[in-house]
């Protein structure tokens, strides 16, 4: 689609403030004059030329604070390249009648797949195996045994889009599923636990899939980890702040839980040395959504929202 004006000599101007996905910039440049300002969310120094853009393109991590939104008097749309808009000041956008769009659900299967990789990885000691071979230790003797996933219980904290995909996947591995969250879901038959500690006591794997909010901050704390117990494993593919990382480190070091698979941390990219030195953890660099295929889809959806807006068409993915 080529909206009026967009393909003429005078391209509309947009401001891009996120690096993710990297394929966004070349896609935007085909239709718009693009100003790139990757520190826009922390810096007040927005160049004058960038102030008169008509669209703001941001990502889930960068978001758009009130100050950034208000320093752009001419924006007509805020397009988020990812699903979560919790770091976009929706009130500031609403006050000015600026629509916000997102690219929802695209990477949910990818994040869920990494969750499965972590469940299987910590159970079957996948990373340890790899290093065992690479470091040449195999000729000296066999490696220790991992654990079977089949027949074990998985507790999902937050049965949203990602949580549901994980539930479906682990079910095919003959694992039992239950969940906890703000309320029971009517359309699933998995057992629901009101109380997170009670669910942790019941399961072998606690998989954190819920959004970050003041209510979920440090929701997984020492009492929950104690309930998970010495055979239990924690998987976090959501946000680092949902887990009390200091308590987790203590629980892992003291055998209060057996192991952990972590894609997210409280202070990324800083990962405590206590964690990086541990054998009973698998660490990933917040790469749940990092597949080339997901990134290309995010670009397509974001472009579609922008081009529809400037063509006066209904927005495919309006938020709020």
């Amino acid at each position: 689609m080529e909206p009026n004006g967009v393909n003429s000599a005078e391209k509309l101007e947009v401001l891009l403030v996120c690096e993710d996905p990297p394929q966004m910039l070349p896609a935007l440049e085909k239709h718009f004059e693009v100003h790139v300002q990757l520190d826009a969310h922390i810096s007040d120094a927005l160049p004058a030329a960038a102030k008169h853009v008509c669209a703001l393109v941001t990502g889930t991590l960068v978001g758009a604070g009130q100050r950034l939104i208000n320093s752009l008097p001419d924006i007509e749309i805020i397009a988020c390249t990812g699903g979560h808009v919790d770091r976009i000041d929706m009130a500031a956008a609403r006050v000015r009648g600026i629509p916000v769009t997102n690219a929802p659900g695209i990477s949910a299967p990818d994040v869920a797949d990494l969750g499965l990789a972590l469940i299987l990885g910590v159970s079957r000691r996948l990373i340890e195996s790899h290093h065992f071979v690479r470091d040449g230790r195999w000729p000296e003797g066999g490696m220790g045994f991992g654990r079977r996933v089949g027949g074990k219980k998985v507790g999902i904290l937050g049965l949203g889009g990602i949580g549901r995909i994980i539930a479906r996947r682990v079910h095919a591995f003959d694992m039992e599923v239950c969940y906890s969250g703000p309320g029971r879901k009517d359309d699933v038959s998995y057992p629901f636990f009101d109380d997170l500690s009670e669910m942790a006591r019941h399961v072998d794997y606690l998989v954190v899939c819920c959004p970050e909010s003041p209510q979920t901050r440090h929701l997984v704390d020492m009492p929950v980890l104690r309930a998970l117990g010495p055979e239990g494993m924690l998987i976090n593919i959501a946000r680092g702040a949902i887990v009390d990382e200091a308590a987790l480190i203590e629980a892992l070091a003291q055998g209060i839980i057996a192991g952990a698979g972590l894609d997210v941390f409280e202070d990324e990219p800083h990962v405590p040395e206590a964690l990086t030195a541990m054998d009973n953890v698998i660490l990933q660099a917040h790469v749940g959504a990092f597949t080339t295929e997901a990134k290309l889809e995010m670009v397509d959806v974001t472009m579609n929202n922008l081009l529809n807006h400037f063509a006066g068409q209904p927005l495919p993915n309006p938020v709020g």
Binding site: D110, S129, H130, M143, V287
Partner: protein, 319 residues
């Protein structure tokens, strides 16, 4: 009086087996390393032992079987009995039992884990975080697993587990085998190279043996292509030299490898590659499998001494 048994002590024994055997029987032990010269170690009890408990490796040769004059049963912990001299056992009507089929799920799970790990650059990302590189750079992208095409070489019991797991990732599953299988919904290819051309992931789960020796070589890797990922848990089926060449030259994207022709020695070239996930033949190694293995060995021995039918009799001539 408890029956006397001889237990071969091997590195691969399930940890649960020795105490279980000791609780039920009067146990004599022979270390795996002493087997070559067994006659000088078993003299004291060789005419009293009624059962021999051994492992897939090292099995039991004709010398050992022949030396145990009162032997009534050979219980193998493990599915494969190729290292047991079955002819020597059969000549004396000594039944051989094994522990088949207990790790199919575990091996299937491992194949899926390797598919995920290879596509999502799992091992690389773990090193990236631990080495502190995340402070200065971003981790590159992996590749999607869900919705892609998975080709299974050999739709036996393990292949079927892989197919089931693959389906839950919304993968489009197809397979090749000696002939089409009637009761499965997956697309069949009678040509391995043609299937390789079609799929994003190829998992080798077929039986080892003369018929499949080096079944997978350069033509398969070329057909799999630069976006293809290869996973192998079957011994002897893959031409390792061709695989190493394909990985090193980017003919395929990556591989998850649990078995090697030269194991436990792994070719240097593989150790240096970033696009591989390696493991020391552990696809079937879980605590649950060793427990089940130990339980089955014990159950076969109990059945024998109680005069009951054996649970896992290896049919003479079946191997």
């Amino acid at each position: 009086m408890k029956p006397e048994v001889l237990m071969i002590i091997a590195k691969t024994n399930p940890v649960q087996l020795e105490p279980a055997v000791e609780a039920e029987y009067t146990v004599h032990k022979l270390n795996q390393t002493e087997m070559a010269d067994c006659e000088s170690h078993i003299g004291e009890y060789k005419d009293r032992v009624r059962a021999l408990i051994t492992q897939t490796a090292p099995g039991a040769d004709a010398t050992l079987i022949g030396a145990l004059s009162k032997l009534e049963i050979i219980a193998c912990s493990g599915a494969h009995v190729d290292a047991i001299d079955l002819a020597a056992a059969e000549a004396r009507n000594i039944p051989v039992t094994n522990t088949p089929g207990i790790s199919y799920d575990d091996v299937g799970d491992y194949v899926m884990a390797q598919i995920l790990a290879t596509s999502r650059r799992f091992s690389e990302a773990d090193r990236f975080v631990r080495s502190g590189r995340w402070h200065n750079e971003a981790m590159g992208f992996g590749h999607r697993v869900n919705n892609r095409k998975l080709g299974i070489v050999g739709l036996g019991p393990i292949g079927r587990v892989v197919a089931k797991r693959g389906r839950c990732f919304e993968m489009d599953v197809c397979y090749t085998d000696v002939k089409q299988i009637a009761d499965v919904p997956y697309r069949y290819f009678d040509d391995l190279v043609e299937m390789a051309r079609e799929v994003d992931f190829m998992a080798v789960t077929c039986k080892s043996g003369a018929a499949t020796h080096h079944l997978i070589g350069a033509p398969v890797f070329e057909a799999l292509g630069p976006t293809g990922v290869f996973v192998n848990i079957s011994r002897g089926v893959v031409d390792d030299a061709a695989l190493i060449k394909a990985l090193g030259e980017g003919v395929i994207r990556g591989a998850g490898i649990d078995v090697f022709e030269t194991s436990p020695h792994v070719p240097e070239e593989l150790l240096r590659l970033d696009n591989v996930v390696l493991s020391p033949h552990v696809a079937g190694n879980t605590e649950e499998v060793t427990q089940a293995q130990s339980d089955l060995v014990m159950a076969n021995l109990s059945a024998h001494f109680a005069g009951q039918p054996l649970l896992n009799l290896v049919e003479p001539g079946s191997h």
